[in-house]
């Protein structure tokens, strides 16, 4: 198990290989279908996004509401392939990497190489475990999208596996 503190340096990303088990601590941002559509609109209109994309890690997830006394509700990953068409442009704008579940397409693999970025797989369906790894959660953009809004999450010991690395390695192949 490799312990990583976010944000990652390019040096750290270069050392990761598909299949490595990692434990992530630091800040990640959630964004899924509707948030990506809106990010794309912002980029096409040349508007500044309400959050920093550079070196950020986007978690493809839409959490459950938090119960009283908890930072987050259940919050496992959603299927990353639905974000295939958005990811390359975001990576080219400086996104450091993504977390989701399932394989992403060849264009994403190329964009990971080109930008020295990484795609982690979280364990799909382990929503309660991931909910407990979130220590702080705050909606920072697109709150009208409810569970699809962008949340800033502070996570501790968030378990994941390097699914696609910056050298073309792919755990699914």
């Amino acid at each position: 198990m490799i312990n990583l503190t976010l944000p990652l340096t390019k040096e750290q990303v270069r050392n990761l290989r598909a299949g490595d088990s990692v434990s992530l601590t630091g800040v990640i941002l959630t964004a899924r279908d509707c948030a990506h559509k809106r990010i794309k609109e912002y980029m096409e209109e040349g508007r500044q996004l309400p959050f920093e994309l550079k070196d950020a890690i986007i978690y493809y997830a839409g959490p459950c509401p938090a119960k009283p006394g908890m930072a987050s509700g259940s919050c496992g990953p959603t299927t990353s392939a639905r974000m295939d068409s958005f990811a390359p442009a975001l990576l080219d704008c400086g996104l450091g990497g993504m977390i989701g579940k399932g394989e992403m397409c060849g264009e994403v693999a190329e964009a990971l190489k080109r930008n020295t970025a990484v795609y982690f797989a979280a364990i799909g369906g382990a929503g309660a475990l991931y909910g407990n790894a979130i220590k702080k959660s705050e909606c920072i953009a697109f709150d009208d999208l409810l569970s699809e809004a962008v949340y800033r999450l502070e996570v501790e010991n968030f378990p994941a596996v390097v699914a696609m690395d910056c050298h073309g390695g792919n755990i699914y192949r």
């Binding site: 119960k67 259940s74 394989e103 797989a121 929503g127 409810l146 755990i171």
Partner: protein, 279 residues
């Protein structure tokens, strides 16, 4: 004639929804433990271990076992000797779903198909009613996540394709889905009927316990052969490669037209949540 107030249905749906969002079915939990024991050391076994841990944590902390608390699928088999009183049954079911998803801190995942605007209370539920003999109501509540629903398919096969074609369709659907639907999956299959009826049969198949088999020997044989071929694909838990790609295959059937052989394959992730109650 037995009079039942629909508020009784409402309370049963509420209880079922609250329980289902948090707990795997017993047969699913057992199948995951079996898969863990079967799998060789590696990423897939590690993930299975985490999933078993996750279901225990969800139960103990009473939080959703998966954040995709699904669209609420509600099946009501209503006895023909039942007289329903009170508010319309659809209203009762949706009221229960709305309350359960709010009180349980479940995610609201239902939206307009065009504007994508969220309905904000997880309604409407997908409600199926059947009139059956008797004076009871059989309720089945199944929250259905869409990572797996998205990987489902319906085929209008030629009658000549027969059993071989049915099994090929099942295996091909799981293969094409690959790592995306959260394997190990549970596969519900509809065989026969009409285009729409076939899809419903596949959904009904998913309400059966994992490991149960069709009462028809020839259909049970399809279930066994399809499962064997799926697990030979080697996709494994989360697509991390392994021996267990599916926990089970269940087939439901209905007579069909002489010109057709509809086959519907409804994929369910490893998070099988289903509650049944008789009223």
């Amino acid at each position: 004639m037995r009079k039942i107030d629909t508020s009784v249905i409402e309370e049963a749906v509420y209880r079922a929804a609250r329980h289902a969002g948090v707990n795997l079915t017993q047969s699913c939990r057992a199948a995951l433990e079996n898969a863990y024991a079967t799998e060789d050391e590696g990423a897939a076994k590690f993930a299975l271990g985490e999933l078993i841990k996750n279901s225990s944590v969800a139960h103990e902390m009473e939080m959703p076992v998966c954040q995709d608390t699904g669209m609420a699928v509600v099946m009501l088999e209503i006895g023909n000797e039942v007289f329903l009183e009170g508010k319309p049954v659809g209203e009762a079911v949706n009221s229960a779903v709305k309350r359960a998803y709010a009180d349980g801190y479940f995610r609201k995942s239902v939206c307009d198909p065009i504007t994508r605007k969220n309905t904000a209370d997880n309604t409407p539920a997908a409600i199926h009613t059947e009139i059956v003999p008797g004076d009871k109501i059989k309720l089945t509540f199944m929250p259905k996540g869409f990572g797996s629903e998205n990987m489902s398919a319906l085929y209008m096969l030629k009658p000549a394709q027969g059993v071989g074609g049915i099994i090929d369709a099942i295996v091909e659907t799981v293969k094409k889905a690959g790592s995306r639907p959260c394997p190990p999956v549970y596969v519900g299959v509809g065989i026969g009927g009409t285009f729409d009826g076939c899809a419903y049969l596949a959904k009904k198949a998913l309400t059966r316990d994992i490991g149960s088999h069709s009462e028809r020997d020839d259909i049970a044989d399809i279930e066994k052969r399809a499962l064997e071929r799926i697990n030979a694909l080697g996709i494994g838990c989360q697509g991390f490669h392994g021996k267990v790609t599916a926990l089970g295959v269940s087939c439901e059937w209905a007579p069909t037209h002489i010109a057709g052989l509809p086959v519907a394959v409804n994929i369910q992730c490893h998070c099988v949540r289903c509650v049944k109650e008789e009223i």
